[in-house]
Symmetry: C2
Subunit: 326 residues, 2 copies
């Protein structure tokens, strides 16, 4: 496959530059006129580490790679802007395969209003997709960093947890599908393969006065720990309030796993954890619901450090680590 | 090696955010306040494709990866701003190795005034470095795209050609070193392993009125072809005027290769090819020289299409393709 031919073929599928992008793919660099402040995040997904080609459809690899980047913008409360992709192409990936993979990313870009402003294709012994996303905010104050949680803030989480980890369980052990109804399996697989970045929820939470935010890529417990460390505060979470996706609970039951453990330690849900002053909880909840999402208060910020997740019986719960390929 | 520990260790070596960067590494995204327009480019270098660990010191891999990105900014006439790195770390790369590699990038960042504003570390079966660079310009008109060359423009090239390809010859066939003096070998290896992005030359050329620019990553002939195609013009080049590095000529002689062929087809010199209206050539030359560089007029833009490289005997010369690992 010729590198330049592939780039041309991909370029033909890209939207024409519009909005902030003044010069799109095909030159030495893309030119944009940002205005305000920009939020920029970089990440990569690699075959054998973050996905397997035998279980992940090619389009889902592109979708998920971009979704993970956009989720970082959501966690800043930034509006999505531009994305840049570098695809590492092994010799056994055909040109059609590469186009399929990138179609997954460009589909999500279209749906979220993100412009694919540039990219590159390189040969590589292993398939990888490196993603750069640029979001926008009116000012620094409009964006929400990880640090900033204050004692007394409520801890809230968008959507539901555990779905992506349940999907991974189903991919790793197809025998489990017999113990779960089809709709639940489809839901969990969708959460794992094609997560949705909570961009509108992030904007709503930032506007409502969130003091700190992070997205759940490495698991609720781990990400809450980052919020605690960054803010120099302690997070106290009531495990029984964690919004476990019912489909995740069904998969957990079939797998003989604890549903709370799956929800608290499972990664890649790409939900947002936000800290909110108590009087901001009501407006934030309504704003998130108006954007089509949901918000659940799961605990409270206090002094101290670290994350304490309490079970209904008063014992303390330690979520495990999460590895993206199990 | 723990991913987070490595990120922390790398972060400890980074400069504090300053200038445009309002929030540096360690959050979901970096926050910058650009002003004007931004030029953004992404690229990646992959082990076995763009470098080999047995011939490239680790620091040179980081240096070269960032240099290739900054060279794209130079080719736009943009001022360098921020860089973001994603390092793919295989299991046989130690934490010290990773720090050495990134030190090569951070050294070049310091020397060029580029802020390492963010990054990520991912596990990978193969070592790779994905680089995003963001440059800045006062306005779109201040930046120079590939398209824009007009019939009658002079074609000029910065610095000297062939050095990086000569260095690659020496790396691929160490026996050649016996036929070349040490200074020439050192020069050529330096050009290959630690190329220098022509940022100040690019700014000078843009300010002097360059109508089109591109950097020489895939070889002079190939890149001139891109300028011709983008501008819908033909480029006529006098091969005898190409500024062949004397050290490259010495290596070419030792290898039994044609010096012009090496200079015209060898990639990774990261020099700039610029098209300039005739009355801008003098000011551009003086501006490039004032920045410590040199500029050589090698031909003229005409109607038609493609690139014609003429040899002194009047015959036409066709540069070959360039493969980064020979």
């Amino acid at each position: 496959m010729g590198e330049f031919e592939l780039i041309d073929r991909i370029r033909a599928r890209l939207p024409r530059p519009a909005g902030r992008v003044r010069l799109g793919p095909g030159d030495d660099a893309a030119i944009t006129r940002p205005g305000g402040v920009t939020a920029t995040s970089v990440d990569a997904v690699v075959e054998g580490v973050h996905f397997r080609r035998d279980t992940a459809p090619l389009a889902s690899i592109g979708h998920k790679g971009l979704a993970a980047g956009l989720s970082d913008l959501a966690a800043m409360g930034a509006a999505t802007g531009e994305a840049y992709l570098v695809l590492g192409v092994p010799s056994d990936l055909t040109e059609d395969d590469a186009v399929d993979l990138l179609a997954g990313a460009s589909g999500l870009a279209d749906e979220t209003g993100t412009e694919l402003a540039g990219g590159d294709v390189v040969r590589s012994p292993v398939l990888f997709l490196s993603v750069t996303v640029v979001g926008h905010g009116a000012s620094e104050d409009a964006l929400v960093p990880r640090a900033g949680a204050r004692p007394g803030d409520a801890i809230a989480v968008t959507g539901e947890l555990g779905g992506a980890a349940a999907g991974l369980l189903l991919l790793e052990d197809p025998g489990l599908r017999g113990g779960v109804n089809d709709a639940a399996a489809r839901f969990a697989l969708g959460r794992h393969l094609e997560p949705w970045p909570r961009l509108s929820e992030g904007l709503a939470l930032a506007t409502a006065g969130a003091t700190a935010m992070i997205d759940v890529s490495d698991g609720f417990g781990a990400e809450a720990g980052h919020l605690a460390a960054a803010g120099g505060v302690g997070l106290s979470v009531d495990a029984s309030r964690l919004p476990v996706a019912p489909e995740a609970a069904a998969v957990a039951a079939a797998a003989g796993r604890d549903r709370l453990e799956l929800a608290a330690s499972g990664g890649e849900d790409y939900e947002l954890i936000a800290c909110l002053p108590p009087d901001a909880v009501g407006p934030a909840t309504r704003a998130v619901e108006a954007s089509g999402g949901r918000l659940t208060v799961v605990g409270e910020v206090g002094p101290g450090d670290g994350v304490r997740i309490r079970l209904p019986d008063g014992t303390r719960f330690e979520p495990g680590g999460y590895d993206q390929l199990g």
